[in-house]
């Protein structure tokens, strides 16, 4: 009953890694019993100091990595029990990503970059959808530019357009304004929230940017491997 309202539920999430730099084989606990529930269409920011494990948590929530213990349930599916191919399927259909370093493919134009997720899903309307979204993010005139011909802000717009092409239910953003100046960052944040509103996507943002964190409905602090609520 409760789960149908929640797009994402996390129970007792633990992530341990082997310390590689020490001579003795010790284990470092990065995440230590995370509990989290996120409602559909909610926007949540996760903040924390560098090295606190924010990106590790994001990787786990998005099914890019496997936890040491605990469960992650996306849309009633416990993704920690899925094999690689099923996880890929979940990512393809339900999840979108935006990265700090944009992660555009340098050999492809803006249009081709945005079309790629739909092409991987063998969708027929990839081109129309990509054209629409690029126009929506204000790059209708720069369709055939390669990433290196675009500014940082423009590249992140392409990345946002790409993230929304598959109409994901969950959108994960890892420091989306981390590589941008303040003004450009602001306009990117606005764009992100506009699209979020339009499409009813659930937004989970990992950030250092207080301004961005404050735009979210809920703000969580990751400290010593645990999450706590922060008053926005």
């Amino acid at each position: 009953m409760q789960s149908s309202n929640n797009i994402l539920v996390v129970r007792n999430l633990v992530k341990k890694v082997d310390a590689v730099d020490t001579a003795s084989s010790s284990v470092i606990t990065i995440l230590n019993g995370i509990q989290l529930e996120i409602k559909r269409s909610e926007s949540v920011s996760i903040i924390g100091a560098s090295g606190s494990g924010k990106s590790t948590l994001l990787g786990l929530l998005a099914g890019l990595d496997k936890p040491s213990e605990g469960s992650i349930i996306i849309d009633d599916i416990n993704i920690t029990e899925l094999d690689e191919d099923s996880l890929a399927n979940i990512r393809a259909r339900k999840i979108g990503f935006i990265f700090q370093s944009f992660q555009l493919l340098p050999g492809m134009t803006a249009l081709e970059n945005v079309m790629l997720p739909l092409e991987l899903l063998s969708e027929n309307n990839a081109r129309q959808r990509a054209l629409y979204l690029l126009d929506r993010v204000g790059l209708g005139e720069r369709l055939h530019h390669y990433p290196k011909q675009l500014s940082g802000g423009e590249q992140q717009r392409v990345a946002i357009a790409r993230a929304f092409t598959t109409q994901p239910e969950l959108l994960f953003a890892d420091e989306p304004t981390g590589n941008l100046d303040k003004t450009t960052g602001q306009s990117i944040i606005s764009l992100l929230f506009e699209l979020n509103m339009e499409q009813g996507t659930t937004l989970i943002i990992v950030t250092h940017d207080d301004n961005l964190a404050s735009r979210c409905e809920r703000c969580l602090l990751l400290d010593s491997g645990r999450l706590t609520n922060v008053q926005a």
Partner: protein, 830 residues
């Protein structure tokens, strides 16, 4: 599936547009082009050499039998579109002017010879004319020696059995006459229609019946397939290549040179493909991570990249085959002068091998890198340092090694050379590891003593040891292969040619009687004709091997080695001939005198399964001689010196009547001296070998031209390896340079340190290449080509210098821009 393939094509086209695939594609095109063109060229030359050998026989294929041959063979051959001819050969005494002389008679039909021509003249050793058919009925053509022995002139009559034939020409050269030096009796050519009337050939006469065939290779092969099961025990089939030991030996050596050279070019292309595929895969880690992040499964990724690999393979292989065809056509045109006649065209086999080689090399060398893409973690999008687990080393090496061995073996058809080259390459890699440890140690010692750009250059090499080791290895291997090919061309071929100098013996004198040795020697000496030696020759037959009678062996096995069916030329001597080399055992010493020991030629020993200590019984002049194999000897058949399969020490067979044999060189202009020699010593027989020698020289010229061509491909393949290698380190170099510049390094400082680093890489690679080359050269010279080995001192100096020059030349195109690049741009996009 279909959509994924479409996506794979799209992604491939995008990669193509962005220039990612150029080196990989070009390396593949070069590999295929080199395999195709070398294959085509080798096959054409091979066919031309076979054809030459065929011209020697007067036919491509000859069926010999001791009883009359089945007429069905001829009609079947005609069904296979072959031209046919028949001959009958026998010995008989010819009479004229009350003189008697044993002659070797060949009776030929109107089609003879099928290939080449008969050369005749009006006087012994006079100017020659060409005839494309034999004598007409009632006529005979006589060898010069027969003319002088019978004291006949043109248009006089001789008696052959019960008929008289008119001498209408002097026989100078008849195809097939040099197949064996044993046919000592002077030759006579007559028409086959006169044989019956002559009454010579009776049941029980020793006669060789021959059917000659010629036609295209395919027709010959299908006919051979039909004929072989039909052969009777006394019938043997002689192919075009079995005409002469000297030509065989030359053709074989030529094939070895060519296959070795082409193998090396394939190996080099393989390295280029491996390097560029690795770089291609590495550059796709981010793309794959992203694709996996947005929902691609591992099998999707594999499907996409395998589809791309296949597409790339097909396109590059097709382009390579076309390029290869054009290249070898151009070469044939350029080398028109070398090949006096048009080269025969090649079959489809080289195209198939070329095309398939593209796939085999691509899969063998790039599949490990592509498979690695499958295991790229999607988490790499967040943590860029995550690289996929390396594919297990044994898989990479065994896949690459087995594909290249398969390919080289397939192409060359010579497993020994293939394994030798692979062993050499493997040892070269081992040598690199040892060398790199030594160089690193040395560099660490040198490092504190250096300053400025040299210090930074060395530091770069020391810092990134693994990458630089790989670079030194690939560059070293390229240089090594280039050097080997260069050695083959300049050193091996020259030495081979030197073995057949312009003044190599071109005449054999046989039938010298013991009392004639000294007079003949002084005759030659007085006319400044140099001879290596005069050797005894005795006819003898092997009758038993290790207690088993040859006659019994004949009934057990259908095919008895021809050497057991006929008399062999035996000799005795105490000093090993110059062009002979002992492989096993020792040459005779003073104690061997009078002992029943033999020295046997390697090839014959192998054919008869003889090893040291085996006992043989010879029948010589109706007496039994038991002898033990004392040593096994390698004979250089191309030396054109008298050579023997079996040699005894002194005082074992000396008691038997012997004739003597010698060889000498005589210029064309001095041929008239032969008339003088024959007049003075009428029982001598002089064999002219100019034709065989010209054939061997022509083969050498062809190989030389072909290897030059291969060198060109190897050079291009080598440049591709270097380009791939330099490209693979471009990004880290650019980044290092950008950081150095932000820290205040000047452009000239960066340029100089880059030059210093490249020069050091060049020196290291050059040294490695020279060490590898010397080692392989040592093995090749001794084991394959039978040549003396000596250290190539100049290579030790030129090797590293060439290394530096080539590497500077290739890398500077890419690297020269590095010091001038904007650090901001590089740091932003790296």
């Amino acid at each position: 599936m279909c959509k994924l393939s479409q996506l794979a094509i799209k992604l491939l086209l995008r990669d193509w547009r962005s220039g990612e695939l150029k080196v990989l594609f070009l390396s593949l095109v070069i590999a295929v082009a080199s395999v195709t063109s070398i294959g085509l060229f080798s096959q054409r030359i091979d066919r031309s050499m076979n054809h030459q050998a065929g011209e020697f026989l007067g036919a491509d294929l000859i069926l010999n039998g001791t009883t009359s041959l089945d007429e069905d063979n001829l009609s079947e051959a005609r069904k296979h579109n072959l031209k046919t001819s028949q001959t009958i050969s026998f010995s008989s005494v010819i009479v004229a002017n009350d003189e008697f002389q044993l002659a070797h008679i060949k009776a030929v039909d109107k089609n003879y010879p099928l290939l080449n021509s008969i050369r005749i003249s009006d006087e012994p050793y006079g100017d020659e004319q060409v005839s494309y058919s034999g004598p007409a009925s009632g006529e005979a053509w006589l060898a010069p020696r027969l003319i002088s022995a019978l004291k006949v002139s043109l248009n006089e009559y001789i008696e052959v059995g019960q008929i008289q034939l008119k001498v209408t020409a002097i026989l100078k050269h008849d195809p097939g006459q040099t197949t064996s030096l044993i046919s000592i009796a002077p030759r006579l050519l007559m028409n086959i229609s006169d044989v019956v009337n002559s009454g010579i050939v009776q049941p029980g006469s020793r006669v060789t019946y021959s059917q000659l065939f010629t036609g295209t290779l395919a027709d010959r092969q299908s006919f051979e397939k039909w004929l072989k099961p039909e052969l009777k025990a006394d019938e043997t089939l002689v192919g075009g290549t079995e005409s002469s030991q000297a030509i065989n030996s030359a053709v074989e050596k030529a094939r070895q040179y060519l296959s070795l050279a082409s193998m090396l070019s394939v190996l080099l292309s393989g390295i280029a493909i491996a390097m560029s595929a690795n770089r291609y895969a590495q550059r796709h880690y981010d793309q794959v991570a992203l694709m996996r992040c947005i929902g691609s499964t591992q099998s999707n990724i594999l499907q996409i990249y395998i589809t791309q690999l296949i597409l790339l393979g097909v396109t590059a292989a097709a382009c390579g085959v076309v390029t290869g065809y054009i290249a070898q056509q151009m070469l044939s045109l350029l080398l028109h002068d070398v090949f006096s006649s048009q080269l025969p065209s090649a079959g489809v086999y080289p195209y198939i091998i070329g095309f398939m080689s593209g796939f085999i090399t691509l899969i063998g060398f790039s599949l490990p890198a592509i498979l690695r893409l499958r295991s790229v973690s999607p988490l790499r999008v967040l943590r860029h340092e995550l690289s996929p687990l390396p594919i297990q080393a044994w898989l990479v090496y065994s896949l690459a090694a087995s594909s290249i061995v398969l390919l080289m073996w397939w192409q060359s058809g010579n497993l020994t050379i293939t394994l030798l080259v692979m062993t050499g390459t493997f040892l070269c890699i081992l040598a690199l590891l040892v060398l790199s440890i030594l160089l690193t140690t040395l560099s660490r010692i040198l490092y504190p003593t250096l300053s400025g750009p040299w210090k930074l250059g060395l530091q770069q090499i020391l810092r990134n040891q693994r990458q630089n080791q790989l670079q030194i290895l690939s560059l070293g291997l390229s240089l090594f292969i280039l050097m080997i090919i260069y050695l083959i061309h300049s050193d091996l071929l020259d030495r081979w040619k030197n073995q057949l100098p312009d003044n190599a013996p071109n005449h054999f004198v046989i039938n010298i009687q013991q009392y004639e040795i000294e007079p003949v020697r002084s005759f030659l000496k007085s006319r400044q004709i140099y001879t290596e030696g005069i050797y005894p020759m005795i006819r003898g037959r092997i009758t038993s091997i290790n207690g088993k009678l040859v006659s019994e062996m004949a009934t057990e096995t259908k095919k008895l080695d021809p050497a057991l069916k006929r008399d062999l030329n035996l000799s005795w001597m105490n000093k090993l001939q110059q062009n002979n080399r002992i492989l096993r055992g020792n040459w005779f010493d003073a104690n061997s005198n009078g002992k029943p020991l033999i020295s046997i030629e390697e090839g014959l020993a192998r054919r008869l399964n003889l090893v040291m200590g085996d006992n043989l019984i010879f029948s010589i002049a109706d007496q039994r001689i038991v002898a033990t194999v004392h040593n096994i000897r390698k004979v250089d058949w191309e030396s054109f010196q008298p050579n023997f399969f079996i040699i005894f020490p002194e005082n074992v067979i000396n008691k038997f009547p012997a004739t003597y044999i010698s060889s000498f060189y005589l210029d064309k202009t001095e041929k008239k001296l032969l008339n003088e020699l024959i007049r003075e010593y009428p029982t001598l027989t002089v064999l002219e070998l100019d034709d065989i020698m010209n054939q061997v020289r022509s083969i050498m010229d062809k190989v030389s031209a072909a290897i030059k061509f291969v060198m060109l491909f190897v050079l291009v393949a080598g440049l591709m390896v270097m380009t791939a290698s330099i490209q693979s380190s471009m990004e880290s170099r650019s980044r290092n340079a950008a950081i150095m510049r932000t820290l205040g390094a000047s452009r000239s400082y960066l340029r100089n340190s880059l030059l210093a680093e490249i020069s050091l890489l060049g020196i290291f690679s050059g040294l490695l290449a020279v060490i590898g080359t010397e080692f392989i050269a040592y093995l090749l010279y001794l084991k394959i080509f039978d040549l003396d080995y000596q250290l190539h001192i100049t290579l030790w100096i030129t090797g590293p210098l060439i290394g530096i020059s080539i590497i500077l030349l290739t890398s500077w195109i890419y690297l020269r821009k590095i010091p001038d690049q904007s650090p901001v741009k590089i740091l932003r996009y790296s």
